[in-house]
Amino acid sequence: MHRRNLFKLGAAGLATAGLAPAISATSKQAVLGDRENDKWLHLGTGKSTLPNRHKQVDYDVVVLGGGAAGICAAVAAARKGSKVVLVQDRPVLGGNASSEMRVHLNGVNRLKTGLAERETGIIEEILLHNRFENPQESFPVWDHVLYDFVMREPNIELMLNTQGIEAIMDGDKIRQVRCWQLTTETEYLLGGKIFIDCSGDGLVAATAGAEYRTGREGKKEFNETFAPDEPDGWQMGASLLMSAKDMGKPIPYRAPSWAIPFDEKNAHKRRKFHAYHEGIWWIEVGSDDDIIADQEINRHKLMGYLHGVWDYIKNSGRFPESETLALDWVGSLPSRRESRRFIGDYIHSERDLTTYKHFPDAVAFGGWGIDEHNPGAMENIHMAPTIFHAHFDEVYQIPFRSLYSKDVPNLMFAGRNVSQTHIALASSRIMATCALMGQAVGTAATMCIEKNATPRQIAQQHINQLQEQLLRDDVFIPKRPANDTKDLVKKAASIFASTTHSGNAELLNNGWSRDIDGKIHHWQSVGLPADVQVEWQDTVKLSQIEIKCDTNVKRNIMMRKDSKNDENFNNTVPEEMVKSISLQARVKGKWQTIETIKENRTRLIKFNFDSIKTTAVRIRVDETYGDPRVKLFEIRAYS
């Protein structure tokens, strides 16, 4: 039976088929799907019956929220072997970056060096997938790229149009999450061992009793220089974007009745109109109270502000070039920056970022400037829309202890709702940074299950193993080189290359998977084809070879509305990436080709094969996506 039929069969069908995860009869805790008053005549059967609107399914890991953080959490946990359900309350994946909101999936786009320090791991794999599948750079197609990325994972069940609304507890632990699936009128009780709230607002975590806060900390609490003197309730707002296209002829525009006129006279000079046809991020409204309760009021305001600004552009006479422009797309769903921040065993704060604090439990990094949008946003039009309090020379670390709840032992977070101050959030809220947190907690979730441990126990007893796994899976952790004792390349006697243009083949074994902190950690060939050979003194048994190739992490690859293509942004597949590569092994003195990959699409290249006994392997690269040389950063071997 095809696994995607799972939700079509219903509980009875699955029970018959003997499938895991198990679905039980309607829970006594099910309350939303009670339909005892229905008067339904089913003409197909000729019977009167009641619809079944209760389902209960158990998984290993329940991930709430299908944005960048949630997708990475789900994929990481699933690839490590957990049965995962990914619950998303919208019809599409992607959160703020989805076609519903269209925010650029930014990361460490530019440090003070002028260069990016791009995120790798699952989020890079997603962005590369998009470069192959969506060269037209369409946001609706991007939704489907994400859908494909999730659906191809056999261990993930995806539930769209489904919102987690309540945690059902077993003591201090979450046992199930009550969900409502809008399109099927169905209540789901999703059981799990580990729960990861990547939903941004964190409703489920809040109902689980996990402590959270909203608003801005005062300076004193965390010794933050950029915080207000005294704490207050302000939270950064949500934005509503739009796009316009040139119709080639004059197009009139009349604002709708609910438009709010743009207050040009009082608008701060930094409310700029650069590239306004691709949306204006400062059309934004925040709150100093309960921002979640205010969302629908704010949405209406934002729609009014958006049309007011567009009316100003079209009809004020200040933008004559807008005469032929017409709105092509307008958002109806504001993209949120801030609401609840849950409290973990550590609260990440400003000085951790600005002093590049080293955490022994670092699992992710950030580097977007501290970009604090101003209180009130459009409602304080006289203020600058944002203040970049600081930019960074290098990336900063994010500790694992800020990614799980201090109160609920089987609850983790990734994204904007993690344990951090308002000022730290002003930097770390960027989606690719959130995605790194997602991969970290997803990986940790499976470790929790394997070891029957809580996230806190992972932090205290197994953090080295978690970090090593993340590094192996191509996450970069600043100041933390890999040192995996299972990696047999560590025991190799010689690593050498056919030619060397820069770097050194021996650097492929030094634990660093990118050039960083002014140091080279790569090998680059003179030309192509080129090969690298790893040789051992004694025979070794191998069944896996893993390679990290260059994708130029100093140049961004996220999709942008302007399709920017310069030294900082790339709108195609990185030319540096390996395209055609083969693995050979020397067995009893004879070289054998183990596998050839003709159309590689990832930075982390994996060869999995039946175990062989060998004394040397050779990696041969025949082609990149355009670069006449090849650059590699790491080779690993496992038995």
Binding site: E321, A493, S494, F496, S498, T499, T500, Q533, E535, Q537, D538, T539, S563, K564, N565, D566, E567, N570, N571, T572, E575, R586, K588, G589, K590, T615
Partner: protein, 394 residues
């Protein structure tokens, strides 16, 4: 407005411009005064003029460009200039000016001169500002510019607000660094960069070499990096492979860094057959790790292209030298060369057999596998003994 005087000839001197980037306001004012002075194009005593034809990446229909190249001296050092059109414009809507480009004796960009009243133009019919000239000077001096790989079909007239209909580049496929072009003037940058760093540069290198004797070039090979590189290139071009010159070049081997090693190998690569083998063996006998690997690659490439270029005697010498290699990858490369040559005589095999006793087990193992596959020595006592002793590690 800068560069405004209609009566004046304007000269942009690279060194001066660079100085203005860092000097005080008063010095900059001095510089501007010079720009606006009545000076004409600098007159030089031309020692030689040649007609040249060369390809240019921006040339319409890929026609060869015909021009005159002039040689002159400053303090007995050769310099060159050529008058060119400022821009090949893809859609014939660019303003074309006469530009005088200067090179040094090594074919490196030296400076750019403009005639009276000539002002280069960028988008929207705007004249270049001072900072644009400064940037252009830096662009032309950068040999590693991303303009080098840009093809002219990637340059388009976009008509967008940003490029103001004069010139631009298609954002769809082009990758070019901001530092490599001036907004609105990419055709100009592209045209001039390829004049400066295209085939003319090599023509000048060859032309200036005519004034140097082999002896002078040989002496130059011990000079600065630029001189060394130039000397090795021109010695090669002059086919100077006499014993004295080779000895001088080989004297550079022991202390050569990677870049110089590459230049030496390029020199050796063009050597006539009669000295090629012995020169390579000399290099392989050195202990400079930079150059040994390059030399082995050269042998591999050469023998792949021409299997008869090296004789049996060479391979015997190669194996003799390889027997003392401590670095396993060099032995690996040597064996790979032998396999490619298909030459396995008894003398070579005898030498290889001794390597079964190498202190480096990987060397011994590689030799063992080589001999097992490419010789008839499987019943040889040393081979059998090696197998018996190491069978678990093979």
């Amino acid at each position: 407005m800068l560069l405004q005087s209609n009566a004046c000839f304007t000269k942009v001197i690279r060194v001066l411009i660079l100085v203005t980037l860092v000097v005080s306001v008063s010095s900059q004012a001095n510089f501007l005064a010079r720009l606006n002075s009545q000076a004409s194009l600098v007159k030089h005593d031309i020692s030689k003029t040649i007609k040249v034809e060369f390809s240019h990446k921006a040339s319409v229909d890929d026609d060869l460009v015909k021009a005159k190249l002039h040689e002159y001296q400053i303090d007995d050092v050769n310099f060159y200039y050529m008058d060119v059109k400022s821009v090949f414009c893809g859609e014939n809507i660019c303003k074309v000016d006469k530009v005088r480009l200067h090179w040094d004796q090594f074919g490196h960009y030296h400076e750019l001169e403009l005639g009276t009243g000539i002002k280069l133009e960028k988008g929207n019919a705007l004249d270049f500002e001072l900072e644009d000239y400064i940037k252009l000077d830096q662009i032309l001096a950068n040999k590693n510019s991303t303009l080098s790989s840009l093809e002219k079909f990637e340059l388009v007239t976009t008509g967008s607000t940003e490029s103001a209909g004069i010139d631009g580049f298609s954002g769809a496929t082009t990758y070019i660094k901001n530092e490599d072009y001036i907004k609105g003037a990419i055709w100009t940058c592209y045209t001039l960069w390829h004049y400066v760093n295209g085939p003319v540069s090599q023509i000048i290198r060859n032309m200036s070499a005519e004034s140097y004797s082999v002896n002078e070039l040989t002496q130059m090979s011990t000079g600065s990096w630029i001189e060394q590189h130039y000397a090795l290139e021109q010695l090669s071009a002059k086919q100077s492979y006499d014993a004295k010159t080779i000895e001088k070049v080989l004297s550079l081997v022991s202390n050569a860094n990677l870049e110089l090693s590459q230049a030496i190998i390029s020199y050796v690569k063009a050597a006539p057959k009669r000295v090629l083998s012995s020169t390579i063996i000399e290099i392989l006998s050195s202990e400079n790790s930079h150059i040994v690997g390059l030399a082995l690659n050269l042998v591999k490439d050469k023998s792949r292209q021409d299997p008869l270029i090296f004789n049996a005697e060479f391979y015997q010498e190669l194996v003799k030298v390889a027997a003392s290699f401590k670095h396993y990858p060099y032995v690996h490369q040597t064996l790979s060369i032998l396999q490619q040559s298909n030459l396995q005589n008894s003398s070579i095999q005898a030498r290889l057999l001794t390597m079964l006793e190498s202190d480096n087990f990987m060397i011994a193992r590689a030799v063992y596998w080589h001999l097992l596959e490419f010789s008839e020595l499987n019943s040889n006592k040393m081979m059998q003994s090696f197998y018996q002793f190491n069978q678990d590690r093979l």
